[in-house]
């Protein structure tokens, strides 16, 4: 199974990349996605996660073909 992982704003700078492709064989939670894609990196406090453009919590399961995104708290408007 394969997913795309996107990073935005300060998290993109922290990771040093705007996206990753991740292949996996067993079910993954969102928090596992972060640690598999960024094993060496601390997960910044207050990081938010989305699957397919909807906010999710860290225990949500990802499925084949999903787009997962990680980003800091939003500051628009």
């Amino acid at each position: 199974m394969s997913i795309k992982v996107y990073y935005f704003a300060s998290l993109k700078e922290h990771v040093g990349s705007s996206e990753h492709e991740l292949d996996f064989t067993q079910s993954l939670k969102v928090k596992d996605v972060w640690f598999q894609a960024n094993a060496e990196l601390v997960l910044p406090k207050n990081t938010l996660a989305a699957i397919n453009m909807d906010y999710v919590d860290w225990d949500s399961l990802v499925s084949d073909g999903d787009v997962v995104a990680f980003f800091p708290p939003v500051t628009g408007g």
């Binding site: 935005f8 704003a9 989305a50 453009m53 909807d54 708290p73 939003v74 500051t75 628009g76």
Partner: protein, 148 residues
Amino acid sequence: MAIKITDQPFDPYQELQLYQNTQLDHLGAIGATSIFIGTMRDFNQGSQVTGMSIEHYPGMTEKQLELCVEKAQGLWSILDSLIVHRVGTITPNEVIVLIAVWSSHRGDAFDATRYIMEALKSTVPFWKKECIDTDAQRWVVSNTSGYQ
């Protein structure tokens, strides 16, 4: 309802006029129009700010804005709405955001406008990075907790 994300400067009054003249529904039922316009300041947190870039998550931005409007529609009687938000490079005094809500009554229009704006600030994936007077850049990190 219309949602527009633009990387170009825009005149909120022209956007409003254009929308009212060409797309606005329920003309006879409208008794109130409430408008919020957010403009970039040249100061923030004790520093002079000379410019800013606004990043967003294309697709999720629009989806979350639609959700803000849908939730407002569930709470108040709204006839129509317009949201325009700037992204990219922006300088002080330029408009960042326009929110307009049309309703039959002012209370619904006022409250829904404020709700949508507060929901935007706390849930829609935009991020500001400021250029400050020392030529340094910094991400804006303060957040608001939504409509209260």
